[in-house]
């Protein structure tokens, strides 16, 4: 029993910390709310330590509900780091926008505990509960700018479509349960192998789960909410949800599909193939037409979901599946660093009332703020996938896994759409360096530190990527007995 608690320790610490923080915050005077932000960062660090020194041997807990394995521990690191970056970019930004209310940090911790549970879920019930635990705080955070109509609209759209997606996931789980008699991933697999499961029902269930999770990771054609929500939500929230919610969605997608439905590969692979290809093409092509930087990054985030989705087509090929899952993890790590860096720059240039978000507001940044412009260039190159950046290595490993699986067409689409993406990413660089202008830049110390740190990490980690990649390749999915 105690071993079970130990396995869930990082999540427990974070959830308990979030509850305590909502209470403690009431006793912190209004002018010293920095304490709340620091305390929540401390909670994240504690959870990070618990995760780091935690369980080494893959094992399940609570009657096979949760599982602690390398996959979950790698993802936990991503979620907790995104929380730390999320606090760093939020603190000054929220105060500048006059929406500094400290429940922001508690909501963020709740959401992260949901994401961590999602990575550790070994039972479809857990997948559903974790999905809602991570989403419900995000709905509130998206509407955090409650005096502004665009933030309210973003929250409502995110909420309605998120709930809609949740409905698909639940119904899919119900059908998978009906087909196999179990909601446990291992139970579904063994029912399929023994032939007692109904394949038709299971396929319909798997497709419905795919639709629901497709909404969460913003895959085309389930992406309609993404640009509006990313644009309307406060930028610090968007930065956080672009990484965290997407990584959590992929955590569930990879674990459930690779482990529970390998026998459905004939039916599912064409679907996943089309979904990945469509997402890459549509995301990258529509991004070209964007002039608002938040919308541009929203479509870029859709496109990146497409790249990561490529990892799922290795469904059913045992050895390759592991490689592809590791490549997806590595890609998510690269995306974490690059994305937070790019959003940090966006936050630095954003002014009151949603000004400073146009591409033209970046004109002249290369002359006035050379360091910031250089950092932004690094992020844009990394998002395109140009060496020497983490984005390049992430794409390299992913394409390699896909090619080894024999999906040459998909890899070609991936490379071609990356070329297309160079057009709009490099346009940001050109505007910064080639056009004259007087960009307004905020002081926000923590945000600047985030930008600097992630820019350095994106380049340096790509030069010494071996340990990180080894860690990702050991982060395999554990099949519970």
């Amino acid at each position: 029993m105690w071993a079970d608690r130990l396995i869930l320790l990082p999540v427990t610490i974070l959830a308990a910390w979030a509850i305590l923080l909502t209470l403690v915050d009431l006793y912190i005077p209004e002018d010293r709310k920095g304490i709340t932000a620091s305390l929540s960062a401390l909670g994240l660090v504690l959870a990070l330590l618990a995760n780091w020194f935690g369980v080494r041997q893959p094992q399940t807990a609570f009657f096979g509900m949760a599982v602690a394995d390398g996959f979950a521990s790698f993802l936990n690191t991503i979620f907790l780091l995104s929380g730390l970056f999320g606090i760093a970019v939020a603190y000054d930004y929220l105060r500048r926008q006059n929406i500094a209310r400290s429940e922001y940090y508690s909501l963020m911790l709740f959401s992260i505990s949901g994401m961590m549970l999602m990575g550790m879920a070994a039972d479809l019930i857990m997948v559903f509960i974790a999905l809602e635990l991570l989403s419900i705080p995000l709905y509130v955070m998206a509407g955090f700018h409650r005096d502004r109509l665009d933030s309210e609209e973003a929250a409502l759209k995110y909420f309605l479509l998120g709930a809609f997606a949740g409905g698909f996931v639940v119904y899919g789980i119900a059908l998978a349960y009906g087909a196999s008699g179990s909601t446990r991933i291992a139970g579904i697999l063994s029912a399929v192998q023994s032939g007692s499961a109904s394949p038709v029902l299971l396929t319909i269930g798997a497709v419905l789960i795919l639709v629901g999770l497709g909404f969460k990771v913003a895959a085309v054609p389930f992406h309609m909410w993404t640009p509006d929500v990313y644009q309307g939500a406060p930028s610090s929230v968007t930065a956080f949800m672009a990484v965290g919610a997407k990584a959590a969605g992929f955590a569930a997608l990879l674990r459930v599909f690779l482990l529970a439905f390998p026998t459905l590969s004939d039916q599912l692979i064409p679907l996943l193939w089309a979904l990945a290809a469509l997402t890459m093409v549509v995301g990258n092509v529509i991004a070209i037409a964007q002039s608002n930087i938040k919308r541009l990054l929203a479509y870029s985030s859709i496109a990146h979901a497409g790249y990561i989705l490529m990892a799922t087509v290795t469904l059913g090929q045992n050895r390759l599946m592991t490689d592809a899952a590791s490549a997806a993890l590595f890609y998510l790590f690269a995306y974490l660093l690059t994305n937070f860096g790019a959003w940090a720059i966006v936050i630095l240039l954003e002014q009151q009332e949603g000004k400073g978000l146009n591409l033209q507001d970046y004109a002249g940044l290369g002359k006035k703020q050379p360091a910031l412009a250089a950092a932004m260039t690094v992020f844009m190159l990394s998002l395109t996938g140009v060496p020497p950046t983490m984005g390049f290595l992430g794409k390299f490993y992913l394409f390699r896994a896909v090619l080894e699986g024999g999906f040459i067409g998909l890899a070609v689409i991936g490379v071609l759409t990356s070329l297309v993406s160079a057009y709009y990413y490099l346009r940001v660089v050109i505007v910064m360096y080639m056009q004259e202008g007087e960009p307004l830049v905020n002081r926000d110390v923590l945000v600047r530190w985030t930008a600097a740190l992630t820019a350095i990490a994106v380049v340096v980690l790509s030069l010494f990527a071996t340990p990180l990649f080894q860690w990702a390749s050991q982060a395999t999915l554990y099949v519970a007995k």
């Binding site: 559903f128 709905y139 309210e152 909601t183």
Partner: protein, 100 residues
């Protein structure tokens, strides 16, 4: 005894009605009600399948779904009320601040 197929057919109909409601209706509250209909269709399927398999886990899942739906209602209605205060409308066709 009523055969299991009847229950599954009913839940499939409810689920389809719910998802069509989300796609067709324009009022935020009605859309939200349709989402609840989808969740309840899943609940019906869970209970029916639990009976078929003779297990309890499906029935327990229903409790989780209900609890989560209640939490969702709390947040969702608050958001809808807030947007009604600002806009005096909850017609989602009028929520077009952002374009591109």
């Amino acid at each position: 005894m009523v055969p299991i197929y009847y229950y599954i057919a009913l839940s499939a109909i409810l689920f389809t009605l719910g998802s069509l409601g989300v796609l067709i209706r324009r009022n935020a509250i009605i859309i939200f009600m349709s989402v609840e209909l989808m969740l309840n269709a899943a609940n019906l399927a869970f209970v029916a399948f639990a009976r078929m398999h003779g297990g309890l886990s499906g029935q327990i899942f229903v409790f989780f779904v209900m609890a989560v739906a209640a939490a969702e209602v709390a947040v969702g209605l608050a958001l809808i009320v807030k947007i009604f205060e600002t806009k005096h409308s909850i017609d989602i066709d009028q929520m077009n601040m952002m374009k591109g």
